[in-house]
Amino acid sequence: MKNIIFRWLGFRWCAFGLIAFAVTSVVALPRSLAQENAAVETPATEPPAAAVPAPAAPVTANAVVRFAVFPPTVHLTTTRDHQTLVGQIELANGLTSDVTREMTIEVTPAELVQIEGNRLRPKQDGDGQITVRHGDQSIVIPLVVRQSAETLPLSFRLDIMPVFMRSGCNTGSCHGAARGKDGFNLSLFGFDPAGDYHRLMREQLGRRVDLAFPERSLLLEKAVGTVSHSGGSLFKNDSRYYQTLLEWLQNGAPDDPGAVPQVVSVELYPEGGVLNGPDTTQQLTVVANYSDGSTRDVTELAYFSSANDNSATVTQAGVVTAANRGEAFLMARYDTHTVGRHFIVLPKDLEFVWQELPANNYIDELMYAKWKRLRIEPAPLCDDATFLRRVSLDICGMLPTAVELDAFLADSEPNKRAKKIDELLERKEFVEMWVMKWAELLQIRSTINVSYKSALLYFNWLQQQIANDVPIDAMVRELLSSKGGTFSNPATNYYQMQTDTLKVAENVAQVFMGMRTQCAQCHNHPFDRWTMDDYYSFAAFFSQVGRKPGEDPREVIVFNSGGGDVRHLVGGRVMTPKFLGGAQPEIQPGQDRRQVMANWLASPENPFFARNLTNIVWAHFFGKGIVNDVDDVRVSNPAVNEALLAELGKRFTDYKYNFKQLVRDICNSRTYQLDTKINDSNASDETNFSRRYLNRMRAEVMLDVISQVTDTGNKFRGLAFGARAVQIADGNTSNYFLTTFGRATRETVCSCEVVMEPNLSQALHLLNGETVHQKCREGGLIAKMIGEGQTPASVITEIYQRAFSRKPEEEELQRLLGMVAESPDVQDGLHDVFWAVLNSPEFMFNH
């Protein structure tokens, strides 16, 4: 009978094979939700909105409200320089359009430059202005031309290296691989120009470069494919890249005589766009700013990519082409800099009217602004029972009791949700939940270097910090500048969990700033701003962590050794400590470098700290971060709502890093309280939180909740029987259930350690394993209720209230009663109901 009830409860796929669980359980909605799903399936098969001829838009909607030309200034230097201009208009309905080809360009005085379409080349030194016209609108851009008659010799670093980068020569799949390709090795993405020059010119004399006959240099012949080249023909003989390389070779292939100007920033224009339907295009232009104040149009040298090819693609000429509805982040990489812009793609001539909604707080306001741009209508507010279950699970990791549920439903006060949030925040379970999450970030576990006692003391220290509402910045400062014995000052275990200097630095960046800097250990980060210099300079803060054995063989004394440096991988130069993405601080002799770093890290001066922590908190309540994954903050993985993340970070700083207040803001927002319902506009939204996403309960919470519902307990090392899995101190303490459901082993700081995705093992364990089946019986709940004289209907109602935080609907009740009646033994029948309820998606998911 179990199977009958089970199938009926929403697992119809069960009959076709359990494996379906893995892929369908995310959308295997609770029964009530499944009906709503069914409702949206039908329109999904209808032609998309774009195919329906839209009614003629009002003239006002198509009115041009803004005409913009990029870049905002033009600075031309030397004969080689040029600049392309890009034009964009914005309509009253928010759509943007590329008008680069439609605009006219005039320069005053005209003799300063030569105009070739939208490209300007210097002719004569002087200052002037460029007037760009489109329709009846015009824009004036300042123009500066200098050294117009001067042709500077080509530079290896400034002119040749960018060709390698743009042509893909130094990517990991080609010569940038650690061992090179086909015998020729370049530094990955050009992190080592001096080494590249050596390999090109000196490694195999006379082979790669032939200065007597530059055209016959293997470098050129391979690149254009006149000789066999695994990478094929990268460019043609008449291309600018070929000409650049040839000219440099003809000049004798000189190395740069000294320091060359560094790229300090790169700008990508236009600043974004809202594209009207598939195949709409937009030209991009990229400008690099150098340390000597000069600028350069590097559109032809930048590498373009799209973070979402499904919505928009970009060619290497910098032309964006819209595809399906959605949002794409389009990036250009030049030198070590990656910059990106958001482009929204809408169905062609989509008709959308934003319905004003009440905003509970700033979160809603900033979310509404984004949804409005995306033309998304959010889901409605969830009902009280759903809210109570959701907020109880999220804040405390527990389900509401039947009494609590009744009281909440009966409460007629308008602010009862806010009151409930406040109440839950004061519970011990809230502290325990966040101790667990921090224990994951701090990798609290026993290892060969860390005894169980150390791990436990470390956990207790963390627990005290969170329980005492110690502001997170103070906690982090204490943690990162800790010294003393791992027993006497357990915070020092942070430096014992990981003893490798570089990895400590990587972990600090990942946990407290959300950044994965590992790539930059060996080469400049390909998708982010971090260079090897940044990496080793940041690691230098941790180069003077001293460790010595304590008197107890299990204890280690961590201290500031006052000596030791980090050397750069290339060249071995000693790196001076420098904040990641920040300044180079002054460190007094004898001063603990970690102290300096911790003071900066956990302060408003570090823009990443508050943002990162708020993002982690956000991800806990929404199942995914505003930047997702939370520890993968990079230029190429931008926040889906930058304004919101910035505001949350600011508020968190204003709250003195008290995250209880932040949680209050989040849970009180209407955004958090949305229903899971899907409508036409938010059906494809998986990132902008316009509806509640379904989240499977995390392993610890799930086991605790199963135990709560069945009135049973668990035994974990170091904890009394009945303690919650959330309270486990040591990452190495686990059981089969927790491991199967993806409990973090805390071996790394990666957020990916917590597995939230359903899989077949989990399904099989729930169905056939001991946990659910045994706990249903072990708790003796059914027997107790029957013993108290409850009817089967009453028992089923209580089971529903315990597991789903709602009463069964009449139809559900009648069908279940019918099934129980068919069972030879009423108690067995009710047990089967109980088992099936605990196996249902409505129970397993927080919705």
């Binding site: 005894s451 169980y452 006692k453 436990l456 027993f487 054995p549 107890d552 063989p553 201290f559 170091g718």
Partner: protein, 846 residues
């Protein structure tokens, strides 16, 4: 050279044997009380056995002791102590390493456990004491137990929460156990303002890795004091509070990580006794009276006048007491011959340093965070100081760091952790002048009880001896068990500190009937073999033996004790030592005759460098005894090697112990002995006599040049003989290491032979290639034995023959027949040619 060694050996033997014989058997050690077994029935059963084999097999040699229960006893009382281990059933005596224990009876519980009724004198110092069991057939390991001064109450479960806390009175010691995740609560009534002190002895009991956590709670569950680890007591905790109001207070005990099991025993002292955590100064001059300040007590510091002992002792501790009683454990205290200098604050900079004058010992307290103590002194160029800083070694919480500066503040040298957390420096004064000593905490912490002491000592020689371990972590065979009419041999290891030279062994209280055989330990060795021999009628029994070592030159006046260190508690990581124990006497027992004896057949001929020799070991088994005998050869002179052991099976009465001497072995005459073990109901060990073995230079060496031939050829290989020592008769030399399918007849030679020629025959199947491992094994008859050595290693190259030229088939008619002159095989080579000569010849032919 050889002669000189022999003379040395004879002199040394005479000296030592004389010394051994001159030792009067001392009366029974007063700490060791021999008792008749109360288990008379067992004794009579054994004597009634007529079958000798049965008697041997009922013995239980090599007893082991694992645990003494209870873990603590109250002094001034009589207690029944249970000794638990293996093969303890025939226990006859308990050795205590400290006076004050009177054994009244011993009763066997079973083969592995005995109970002893012991009267503990009222003046036995509180703290750890050490005991071991002597059985009729051996001596067990030694193990610690604890002596307390408070009455002892047993823990009564359940006492796992405040509601069920076990009520105890003030001033009691609870004997308890923490089982898995167990928490024990004790309720104790207190008066307002009363001091409540708690000290747990758990890890220090030295029986199990049990790291306790204690707390004092009030009735509202608020913690007044907690202690996990403490500098004073290591992993054990101490707490002392002054209770704010009258009422019941609770003492909580658990394992620090909520672990625990049936082995986690503790002695929990609860009372209003003083529990200071430090004494200042932490040392003083011997034989003088000193005012001591006890720090860290709940009621504040208190002073006490104390008369210090007249002699130095490394283990000395002061036991704080006041009107309320005595602290349950003492505080380590340094005794020295020098007067004290005290830290005179403020001395936080070199300019404000406290002035001190030698000879002195410096005492100070790092009282607050950032506190630095500077001391200024004058020193003469060339003086060499051993500067020992005592912090953790006197159980202070300070982790001291020491630096030396010149008088003008120029930095000279520093030390952090040389003796565990404590620093040590050997410093030679570079020039006459003023210098500054600077002491601070490693983490710049400071506390009111961070006491330290700095001792300046001239570099002095020191010596101690020990029996090296057989087991990596145990005490097996570190006692002397001599069977009547038999022997027991052991290695003695000497640690010479700050001196070199020969060392001799002495003993003041050898038991009657025991003879000690040993030679002086040469200056370049750090170990020597010692054999104890018991007369047939030596009285059965045992005692703790005082062994000492001294410099062979009495004028040097360097003398040192025997020391044996045992690992009581080991644990993660990597079998780290948590609790160890050290004794300065070795237990010795004379036991019944064993059914087997072993003997070395004294070799007459030497073993030569690059040589081998088999030492014949004879086994004498009593009729009816058929045990396998496992023989070891523990002492090997420098360069001599051998196998770990050999077995002499029941059907054999002798075995050969193969020795080999490396080419750089030390030439001389060395003592040797073998020790055999057989199972007589437990492993019983019997040693051979102390024999001698001469290690000599080889009698001859040989030089053989490289040789080569083609497969199937015979090559003549000349061998030049260097005659080094004359010998009589005919020696034999054989080539070893030849490749398969290749042979050479052995040759003989005499003391006058200068050259030999080996005829090496190869076949077509001889493995081709360079065979580098060919050498000469020389056997020379010397005094009826053979002296075997290896010499003359050379390389034999065997080549595959070149293919012969085939006649051309295209022009058979035109090809003239091969000249007849080429057909006959080459005449035999008359003169043996070297490889080089052959190559030259081949080249010339071409």
């Amino acid at each position: 050279m050889k002669q000189k060694s022999s003379v040395n050996f004879l002199v040394a033997c005479c000296l030592l044997l004389g010394a051994a014989f001159s030792v009067n058997p001392s009366p029974q050690c007063r700490e060791c009380v021999t008792l008749d077994r109360t288990d008379r029935s067992d004794q009579s059963d054994r004597t009634d056995r007529s079958n000798q084999t049965d008697r041997f097999l009922s013995a239980a040699s090599s007893p082991r002791l694992n645990l003494i229960l209870p873990r603590g006893v109250q002094r001034g009382q009589t207690h029944t102590l249970e000794f638990i281990g293996e093969r303890l059933g025939d226990a006859q005596e308990i050795f205590f390493y400290t006076p004050g224990f009177q054994v009244q009876s011993i009763e066997m519980v079973d083969a592995n456990r005995v109970k002893a009724v012991v009267q503990v004198a009222a003046d036995v110092p509180v703290g750890r004491h050490i005991a071991q069991v002597r059985t009729a057939t051996g001596i067990s390991d030694y193990r610690p137990f604890w002596v307390n001064h408070l009455p002892i109450a047993a823990e009564v479960e359940p006492n796992n929460d405040l509601a069920s806390a076990q009520a105890v009175s003030m001033n009691v010691t609870v004997d308890g156990i923490v089982t898995n995740e167990d928490i024990d609560y004790y309720a104790v009534p207190c008066q307002e303002g009363q001091r409540l002190s708690v000290e747990i002895v758990a890890m220090r009991l030295g029986s199990y890795l049990f790291d306790p956590y204690i707390a004092i709670l009030d009735a509202n569950r608020f913690e007044l004091a907690v202690s996990d680890d403490s500098a004073l007591a290591g992993q054990d905790g101490v707490c002392s509070v002054q209770v704010p109001s009258a009422g019941t207070y609770y003492v909580m005990v658990r394992e620090s990580s909520f672990g625990g099991n049936g082995e986690c025993r503790y002695q929990l002292h609860i009372g209003d006794f003083p529990r200071p955590t430090a004494v200042y100064p932490a040392g003083g001059p011997v034989g003088q009276s000193l005012s001591l300040q006890f720090l860290g007590d709940a009621l504040g510091p208190f002073a006490s006048e104390m008369a210090l002992p007249a002699t130095k002792s490394e283990d000395f501790a002061v036991h704080p007491s006041d009107s309320k009683g005595l602290a349950p454990s003492g505080i380590k205290f340094r005794l020295s011959e020098f007067p004290n200098s005290l830290d005179n604050e403020p001395n936080n900079a070199a300019a404000a340093a406290t002035k001190i004058e030698f000879p002195t010992a410096v005492n100070g307290i790092i009282t607050e965070d950032g506190d630095q103590d500077y001391f200024r002194f004058t020193a003469k160029q060339g003086q060499v100081w051993d500067i020992e800083v005592y912090g953790r070694r006197i159980r202070s919480g300070l982790d001291p760091v020491v630096h030396l500066l010149k008088g003008d503040g120029t930095y000279l040298v520093g030390s952090d952790d040389s003796r565990g957390p404590d620093p040590y420096l050997r410093w030679t004064v570079p020039e006459d002048g003023e210098y500054v000593l600077w002491v601070h905490d490693h983490l710049n912490r400071g506390r009111h009880d961070f006491v330290y002491r700095v001792e300046f000592q001239s570099v002095a020689p020191a010596l101690n001896i020990e029996i090296p371990r057989i087991e990596q972590y145990g005490q097996y065979r570190q006692s002397i068990v001599v069977p009547r009419g038999g022997r027991f041999g052991s290695l003695i290891l000497a640690n010479r500190i700050n001196f070199g030279g020969e060392v001799v062994l002495e003993s003041e209280n050898l038991p009657a009937g025991i003879r000690l055989q040993a030679q002086p330990m040469l200056a370049n060795l750090n170990q020597m073999p010692v054999v104890f021999e018991a007369a047939e009628d030596a009285p059965l029994g045992g005692q703790l033996l005082t062994l000492t070592a001294r410099h062979a030159d009495p004028a040097q006046a360097i003398r040192g004790p025997f020391k044996n260190s045992a690992d009581f508690v080991l644990g993660e990581p990597n079998q780290s030592k948590y609790i160890t124990g050290e004794v300065e006497q070795v237990a010795i027992a004379i036991v019944e005759k064993l059914p087997f004896r072993i003997e070395i057949e004294q070799p007459t001929a030497p073993i030569v460098l690059d040589g081998t020799k088999d030492i014949k070991i004879k086994v004498h088994r009593d009729p009816g005894f058929t045990g396998n005998v496992h023989v070891e050869f523990p002492f090997r002179s420098p360069g001599v090697g051998t196998r770990g052991n050999i077995q002499i099976p029941p059907d054999q009465t002798e075995g050969l112990y193969p020795l080999n001497a490396a080419g750089n072995s030390q030439v001389g005459t060395w003592p040797i002995y073998a020790i055999g073990m057989s199972d007589v109901g437990g492993p019983a060990w019997s040693s051979s006599q102390l024999g001698t073995l001469e290690v000599a230079a080889p009698y001859v060496t040989m030089e053989v040049a490289r040789a080569g031939c083609e497969q199937g050829e015979t090559v003549l290989v000349p061998c030049k003989i260097n005659q080094l020592t004359a010998f009589e008769g005919e020696g034999k030399v054989q080539l070893l290491g030849l490749p398969p399918n290749c042979e050479a007849e052995p040759l003989t030679f005499t003391s006058t032979t200068q050259e030999l020629v080996f005829r090496i025959k190869t076949t077509a199947e001889t493995t081709a290639g360079k065979h580098r491992g060919v050498f000469c094994q020389v056997t020379i008859p010397v005094r009826g034995e053979s002296v075997v050595s290896s010499t003359g290693g050379f390389e034999l190259q065997v080549d595959v023959p070149l293919p012969k030229e085939e006649p051309k088939v295209e022009a058979p008619v035109a090809t003239p027949p091969p000249p007849a002159a080429e057909a006959p095989p080459a005449p035999p080579v008359e003169k043996p040619l070297s490889r080089l000569e052959k190559l030259r010849l081949d080249s010339k032919k071409k």
